[in-house]
Structures are given as C-alpha cells and as structure tokens.
C-alpha cells in the first residue's frame, strides 16, 4: 500500500494514494466528501445526465481501502451524499454495495452541509466524533485542536520544469487536518484560495495525492518556480 506517514497532534497517521486517511493505532479509516448520487441530483434538476457510475466507482475504491487496511472503524466525514434527495434515491444501492464492507466494522456517518440529517443506511449518524486527541467533523471550526475535517476539497498546483501539475491534497498544520474529497465526481478548491489560506497556519503542509502521496509547503499565492 502506497502511503505517506505523518504525525498530527502526537498521533501517527498516514495519507493514502486514494485520498483516504489511515490511523493505524486506532485501526481507523477516514474519508470525506463522497458526494454519492451527484449524477442523480444533476439529472433531477434538469442538468446534464452524467454517467451514473460514480457510486460504484467511489464505493469500490472505499471497499478496496477497507480491505487493504483491515480497518476496524470507518468514518465518513460528511457530504457523503450529494443532497438528501440523492441520499434517499441511492441509499438502497449504496447499502447493498457497502453491506459486506460495513459488516463487522464500526461505521460512522458525520453530517455534512449537503446531507444534514440521518439517512436510511446502517452505522452511526453523528454531528461530530471525538477519539483520543482527535475531533472529526465536516467543516473546520474555530480555535480547534486536533480537528480532522473535509468540506473544502483542497487541491494544489505546482510547477516543475515548466509543467504545471494539479492534484487533490491533504492540508495539515499543528492544529488541523483537512482531507481531500474522496468522491469520483468532485472538483477542488486551490489551496491558495483565501478561505483555505486564512484557515491554515504559515507552517502548513500540503500532501498531494500521488503514488506515493508527496508533501510540499502549502502553496500560498504564487507558486514557487525552479
């Protein structure tokens, strides 16, 4: 398994190539912003009819990570569904596909801004969750310590030898950790966006998804150049 280990609030964590976070000491796998049912929601609203395969694609990756890590506990950090309508429309398909992976695991769905409220699917449904020094919630809060969140879909761009490469990324500083979006149909927010720049300290590091993931100082404003 390709991963990038790092320490956050004294805990040994690891960024996986897929965009999931792995916490070996707690045997916990964390993913954020699956946005399941996005294709369904767009079609429902009279928008484009995207290929309706993003649920399979996203869940198969998640099941793969569950198997590879052997995680006992899985936390989905919110916006697991693209909206409540999508949750209702796709809950059955999701729970059927996910059932084998959920069996025997402690599974927690954190509420997001897209999917506030419980969904008819197994597992715990919580606004946030505390484990040891770490707090799991969807959107980064004020004055946190050991906070793990999602929501922003951070991505970063670097320019190397004349080539610009963009990847989703983890953002981490002393106080908080922000996960990239795990869902297949998700865009991203450049981490030099003011919202993210304000949130993260000057020492923040971005871990770019790759094989293996790689860390760089979180880009702010202009990208560095060779």
């Amino acid at each position: 398994m390709n991963e990038r280990p790092f320490t956050f609030c004294g805990e040994a964590l690891s960024a996986l190539t897929s965009g999931a976070l792995w916490w070996p000491n707690e045997s916990t796998l964390v993913v954020s912003d699956l946005h399941l049912g996005k294709a369904e929601r767009m079609a429902r609203r009279g928008g484009p009819m995207l290929p309706p395969y993003e649920i399979e694609e996203t869940l198969d990756r998640l099941i793969g990570d569950c198997d590879a890590t052997g995680a006992r506990r899985v936390i989905c950090l919110g916006d697991s569904f693209d909206d409540l309508g999508a949750a209702q429309a796709t809950a059955r398909a999701v729970s059927e596909r996910l059932a084998p992976a959920m069996a025997g695991r402690e599974w927690t769905w954190i509420e997001g801004n897209h999917d506030p409220g419980p969904v008819d699917i197994g597992g715990n449904h919580l606004a946030e969750l505390q484990i040891g020094p770490l707090t799991f919630r969807h959107i980064a809060g004020h004055a946190p310590m050991g906070e793990v969140s999602g929501h922003y879909h951070p991505k970063a761009r670097i320019v190397a030898r004349g080539r610009s490469i963009t990847r989703p990324c983890f953002l981490v500083d002393d106080a908080r950790l922000i996960l990239p979006a795990y869902g297949t149909y998700t865009g991203g927010l450049y981490c030099d966006h003011p919202d993210l720049a304000k949130l993260m300290s000057a020492q923040a590091i971005a871990i770019l998804l790759g094989n293996p993931p790689m860390h760089i100082p979180m880009p702010r404003g202009l990208p560095q150049d060779p």
Binding site: A43, Y53, L222
Partner: protein, 812 residues
C-alpha cells in the same frame, strides 16, 4: 404553388432595378442573369471568384420577387459564417435597395444584436434577415419558429465552401432541414469561392435527394502572386514576419489599399505593433481580428468603408469575401499552408472583375520560404487541394435533437426523415439515429439510471422535454465551436482591476516564470498563477518569448508536403533566396535533409531535456498520432517522455531520458500494437471527448468569464467522465463519437501507414549535441501535448524535496 418568378435570360427586370443598373451604366453579369433564370430551382450553387458580384447574384431574385411590395413577412434568410460578413452585407444591400426605392426591410441578427430587437424579429421578421449558423439554430429552437418562418421562400448560404467541411456547416444544414420541413417549397442558394469539387459542395447544400443546379461564373484572369523578397533574410524560426516590415510598408505606400493577412491573432497583433513602430510617415493602418471588442472592429470596418485606411492587418476574421471596395493588394504573412485558401484570400484583392488580383507572400521564417515557393508552383499549375469526404458528426446531431425538442413535441420518425434530407446525414442508419435520440432522452447508459429524470419523455411515440425549463439550458449550450477554458490575465497587485485579457488554461499551464507574451497589444512577463488568474508584470522587452494564442491551425496539404520533399532532392536551390539555400545546406552539413523514401530522426539535448525529432512529412494530424504512439512506447520503456508537438512535417518529443534505440520505435507492428491501448487513454482523446461532450449536451458549456460558483469546487474535469465511461460503459455512444472524431480529425492513421510503406526500414538516426537548423522552428510551435506519465511522479518528487528544503520545513 406555381412560381411566378421565372426569368428567361432576356426577360426585363422590374423597372426600379433595371433603372438602377442603367443609371450607373452597369450591365448584369451573365451569371447573375442565369441565377435569375433558374430562381425557381429548389437548389442552386454559384461558384464565382470574389469580386464577381456573387452576393448580388444571390440576392437579385429576392429583390425581383419583393419589388411589388406584396410579400408579407420573412422572404429570404441569408446566412454567413461571420458576424462581420452579415454587417457588411447589410450595408452593401441596404444602399442599392434604398436607391432603387424598393419596399424591402433588411435586418441582421447575430450574437451582438440586442435582445429586445431579437424578440421583436421573431414576432415581426424583416423581409430579408441576415444571420449566422448559431443564431439560426437558436431561432429554430423557439416554439414560435413556425410563425417566424411563415412566408420564407429562399435561403442563401454565403461562403458555403468555408462551412462545407465544418461542424458549423453541419449544424446549419440540420437547421435548414428543419426549415424545409416547415416550408416545403423553400429554395436553397449556395455561394461559393472556387473549389476543386463543386459536386461535393452541392451534395451538402441540397435537400437530399433534390438536384442542385451548379452555375460557374467566369473565373477571371490568373492572379499575380509573388513572394516578397527582402534584403534582410527571414529569421531561422518563428512567425510574424517582422524582418519584412519596411518592405511591407513600401508596398502599402505604393498601393491604394492593402490587406495584410496573418495566420494567427498573436502574429497579427505583433505585426501591427511593429508596423506602428516603423511607420514614420503615419500612414493610416488598422487592425481587425476576432478577439477584438466589437466597437473596435466596427470602427475599423467603418474606416475601411470610408476609405480612411491604407492598410488593415487582419486574420481569418476577414477571410471570407468581405467586400471592402478598393483593395488592390493582398499580403499574406506566413506560409499559406493550403493552396485553395491562398487562392481564396487573394480573391480579396482588386474587386474589379476581370482584372488580375495582385498578391505578395511574406514567408515568416526560412522553412516557410520553401513552402511559399512550393505553393506558388501549385498556383501556377492550377492544382487546388481536393475536398475530403464528409459525413455528419453525431455530436452535432445530438445537439440538433435537443434543439428540436425545445421547439415542441416531435416524433422520432418525423425527425429522422428530416435529418436524412441533410446531405451529410443522408446515409445515417436509423439505429444510429435512435442511439443519439436515446442519448438525448435518457443519457443512453447501459444502467437505466434516469428513468425518473429523463430529459425527454416519450409518450405514444411523441417526444417532449420532461421539464420545459430545460430549454434555457439547451439554448445556452447551442453552437459547435468549443472554446478552451480561459483564464483571466491580470497585472500583479492590481486585484479587482480590469483584466488585460484571457488566455487558454492550457496555454497558461505551459508558462514558466519569466516567460513573456503578448496580450492586448502589450508585452507582459508571467509571474505566476493565483487562484484562477494569471498574474503578469509589464516588461520593457520588445519581443515576446511565447506566441499567445493557438489561433486557427491550418494543416499543410499532402500536395505541398510532396512538393517540398521533391525539392529537397535537388543538389542546389536556385529558385530559393540565398539565405534559405544556405540554411538547407547547413542542415545538410550538420545533419541531413529529409528524403521521400527514408525517415530522418534526430536526437539532441536542449534546455535540460532530451529531444527527438521525426521528419515524417505525413501532415499535422498523422504526425500528431505518431507523437502519441511514440510517447506511449517511450513511456512503457521508462524513457519518461513529457510531451510533444507536431507540425505538418515533423514531430518533436521531449522528455527526461535520451532515446538510443530508434528503429524498434518505428516498427509497424509496434505502432499497431500500441494503437488499441493508446486510442483509449491519452490526452488527445480526452480533449476530443471534452469537445464532443459539450456539443452533444453531456456537460454544460463553461459560461463566459467563468461565471460559476466561486472556487470551482462544484466543477470537475471531463477527464473523470471519460475514465468512468470507459470503465463502466465502454460501448456508450459518447465514446463511439469520440473515437470516430479522433480517427477522422486527429488520428489519420492512414497517412502514418502510407509513411511507413514509403520509408520501409530506411531510418537515419542522427544523434547530435544541439538543436538542428530544421528542428529549431518546432520549439515555437503552439499546440504542445503534455504526457501525464511517470515523469510527473519523478518531477513531483524532485520538486517536493526542493520546496521543503527552501521553506526550511520538515515533515512532522
């Protein structure tokens, strides 16, 4: 209805019109008279050189039919590929109509027309409406289309040769099939410049299976075309023709009005910039291209009409027969790439019919000198390039189905019957049509996911939009020109100010800090990207390092390539200027010249990367495919290719490692084996997919100026859709469309095979220490294709390490 408008060759014209001609001492051209005589035919195609009174020939029957003032509503629809042309025709038509005192209302309708007038035009159309293919498609999408087009008799398609081979033309012809269904007596008229195969154009124009009468005007005397020779030699590489500035100015002074054509906007801008610097006599010169603001274009057009300008620097936006009076010289800067286009451009000069047109070609660099000489030979020998066979693309059909749905309910049988009256879709199988209809209605997925949310619902054989509000979205996406995503360019530290302009996102991603480029008439230096903005500073440099716009890419025809290879065989080239002769000799000395039955491959390091050049002379598209196949094999061999660029003659590949084993790379077996896996997964396919997905309505067109949810969190790359479809629905119609598009447009494997046959196993590998004379121009080519392979991981690794070190950060 019997047609009262039959005019024998000798029949008198209505007195107002006859009087107007005779008052000016003019007589009607024979082909204008012939058009009148055949005006009742369902379809007419007039082939005439520019300046032959082509437009008048097209409109004369309309003026005659409307002269008695009895016609109510729209009579004639005129469609031109260019907005500027519509405006120009309006001017040139309104004047004689007023002078003749005819009771005829003429209006234009383009993307620039105010919406209040557009709305009024639908309810109360003029007698003659001048419009573009996109505006017409939009008009047919309204529920009141039937009322708007009530009374329509004739439709005139101008410059049909330019539309015939493009998706805009396909969209236009589909719209005409709709109009012909609404108005079964509608007569079609096509106006075309000289083409090699008029029958092919006629097939596209006519309502299948109607016949089409083809009229040919006297082509006039041969044009007088020469290469402009200058004392200073053209540069080794690059475009723009700055070296010839003084010679061009001298020519401008010696003529009444000169049009100076360029192949790209960037070159036109740059040339104009330098022309002004050299213009000590303050000769009035204007610039005109498609990226300029409308007011600016209007001003230039008006000044030209008034005779206030001695010269106009322009691009393809002026390419299509705009009749601006007293042009007596055309200068083409840069190689014409295609003999047909050269001849058509030259038709711009000297609109006095039956006088030879005068033109000068200014090669922009030394390779183009060779190309120009070859093109001039071809013109002298009257060999135009042939047309290609054209069958209607399915993405355009999918869009047409949605447009049809906006106008109201329809049955599949009726729509299919309409569509196959379009020449390019005449052979469309019903099953293929049904797949496109299914795609438009349900998404066409193997997994029937959207039964509840279909876009079109079918009830008793009638299709209609599920949600009528979808019309707004469909109309917003009308059109077949897909613009690349654009990024605003701003001066650093002027946040919120007016941007200097826009560049393609793709172009922006290729920039390095310190690169200079031209935008909005000034030269700027790239500093970096901030959010979705390119930040630049002003720079005192005179010459930009990078050409800004992709512009229109013209492919050099087979014919020209062959002529050039034949020329290379000569021991010496007395027909070429000395500087170019010397350049070819130098290439022969340091490396060698490409030959027809061998393949020259050069390798050399440059700028921290390894390079490989293959001179295949197979045409741009085939060279592009060759680049994809070669880089794929190089990727498999761990040679870390990073990208390539192709011209009509050569492919340049750059990467991290040197290639030493050349011959196996080019073996036919290897290339064929790579073909299948390659076809599925590469940047060109993804770019092709994106274009087709937008046209077919699978994704929405990006709104101008990026007016979307801030931060773009909601949007994601169409690459993801492409990958998902390939994995879960490999038979989906969008993938089929993409494959066909790529095969036809960008792949051209046929010419690679031709090349392989030609060269056999005769490959000459020259391993050199630096860029060769012939390779140098390739470094300035736009349209570089990046390879997103293992080189990325290696670069990321190197760069990540470096950045962490600089920042003094350590991973916790």
């Amino acid at each position: 209805m019997d047609r009262p408008y039959l005019y024998p060759m000798t029949a008198p014209l209505p007195p107002q019109i006859e009087g107007w001609f005779s008052a000016r001492g003019w007589s009607i051209h024979p082909h204008q008279r012939e058009m009148l005589a055949l005006a009742d035919q369902p379809c007419q195609l007039l082939i005439a050189p520019t300046g032959g009174g082509k437009t008048m020939a097209g409109f004369l029957p309309t003026l005659v039919e409307l002269a008695d003032g009895e016609h109510d509503g729209l009579h004639t629809l005129y469609i031109s590929p260019l907005k500027a042309l519509a405006a120009d025709i309006k001017r040139n038509l309104t004047a004689p109509i007023d002078e003749m005192g005819l009771p005829i209302r003429v209006e234009d309708r383009t993307g620039d027309t105010p919406s209040s007038r557009k709305k009024r035009q639908r309810a109360d159309p003029p007698h003659i409406l001048l419009t573009t293919p996109e505006s017409l498609a939009l008009l047919t999408s309204y529920e009141d289309a039937e009322r708007t087009f009530k009374g329509l008799q004739r439709v005139i398609v101008d410059e049909i040769h330019a539309l015939a081979e493009s998706k805009r033309g396909d969209q236009l012809m589909l719209a005409l099939s709709r109009l012909s269904a609404l108005r079964p007596d509608l007569r079609r008229v096509g106006l075309s410049a000289t083409v090699e195969d008029p029958d092919a154009v006629a097939r596209i124009l006519a309502k299948n299976p109607d016949p089409c009468a083809i009229l040919k005007a006297d082509p006039g005397p041969d044009p007088d075309i020469q290469m402009l020779t200058t004392e200073a030699p053209p540069p080794w590489s690059g475009g723009g023709g700055k070296y010839a500035m003084q010679a061009v100015l001298d020519q401008v002074k010696a003529h009444n009005t000169t049009l100076i054509f360029h192949n790209t906007r960037a070159q036109a801008e740059l040339f104009f910039h330098h022309l002004w610097l050299a213009n000590e006599d303050q000769i009035p010169i204007g610039i005109h291209h498609g990226a300029l603001a409308r007011e600016q274009r209007d001003r230039v057009e008006q000044a030209m009409v008034n005779g206030d300008l001695k010269a106009i620097v322009c691009t393809g936006s002026l390419d299509l027969g705009i009749d601006w009076g007293d042009v007596d010289l055309v200068i083409q800067v840069g190689a014409p790439k295609n003999v047909k286009r050269l001849v058509q451009r030259i038709g711009r000069a000297n609109h006095r019919y039956n006088a030879p047109s005068k033109a000068l070609i200014v090669p922009a660099n030394r390779f183009e000198v060779i190309e120009c000489v070859a093109a001039l030979q071809a013109v002298r020998e009257h060999t135009l390039d042939g047309e290609t066979d054209h069958s209607g693309p399915l993405d355009v059909l999918c869009q047409h189905i949605l447009i049809r749905a906006c106008a109201g309910p329809f049955t599949a049988d009726d729509l299919y019957a309409e569509v196959i009256t379009t020449g390019a879709y005449a052979d469309l199988p019903r099953t293929t049509f049904d797949r496109c209809l299914d795609f438009a209605a349900t998404g066409g997925y193997a997994l029937r996911a959207y039964d509840q949310w279909q876009r079109l619902i079918e009830l008793d054989g009638i299709y209609r939009l599920r949600d009528p509000r979808a019309t707004a979205r469909i109309r917003m996406n009308i059109g077949t020109i897909v613009d690349a995503d654009k990024m605003a360019v701003r001066l650093q530290k002027t946040r919120g100010g007016k941007p200097l302009g826009e560049v393609e996102e793709y172009f922006a991603s290729m920039l390095r800090k310190g690169d200079t480029f031209l935008i909005g008439g000034e030269i700027v230096r790239y500093e970096g990207m901030r959010e979705m903005t390119v930040e630049v500073t002003r720079t005192p440099y005179q010459k930009p390092k990078i050409a800004t716009f992709m512009g229109t890419k013209f492919a050099t025809s087979t014919q020209l390539s062959d002529r050039i290879l034949t020329m290379f065989r000569q021991d010496d080239w007395p027909e070429l200027p000395n500087h170019t002769r010397d350049w070819l000799k130098l290439q022969r000395d340091v490396s060698k010249l490409p030959e027809r039955d061998r393949l020259l491959v050069e390798t050399f390091p440059h700028d921290g990367r390894e390079h490989l050049v293959a001179y295949g002379f197979a045409g741009r598209n085939a060279q592009q495919t060759l680049g994809l196949l070669l880089t794929q094999r190089m990727e498999e061999q761990g040679l870390n290719p990073m990208g390539f660029v192709s011209t009509d003659y050569a492919t340049l590949i750059w990467g991290l490692d040197q290639v030493t084993e050349i011959a196996p790379l080019f073996s036919r077996e290897n290339l064929l084996a790579t073909m299948e896996s390659w076809l599925a997964d590469n940047a060109v396919m993804k770019r092709t997919f994106k274009g087709s997905a937008i046209i077919a309505g699978l994704v929405d067109r990006a709104l101008p100026g990026g007016k979307r949810k801030s931060g773009r969190q909601a949007t994601f790359s169409t690459d993801i859709l492409y990958d998902t479809l390939r994995k879960y629905d490999p038979d989906h119609v969008m993938l089929e469309i993409t494959r066909n598009e790529a095969m036809r447009g960008l792949v051209d494997f046929g010419r690679i095979e031709e090349m392989l046959m030609r060269i056999g196993d005769r490959i000459d590998h020259k391993a050199l220490t630096r860029v060769t004379p012939l390779a140098a121009p390739l470094f300035l080519e736009p349209g570089r294709i990046p390879i997103q392979g293992l080189a990325n991981e290696r670069l990321l690794g190197e760069e990540a390490e470096r950045l962490m070190e600089i920042a003094g950060l350590r991973m916790a």
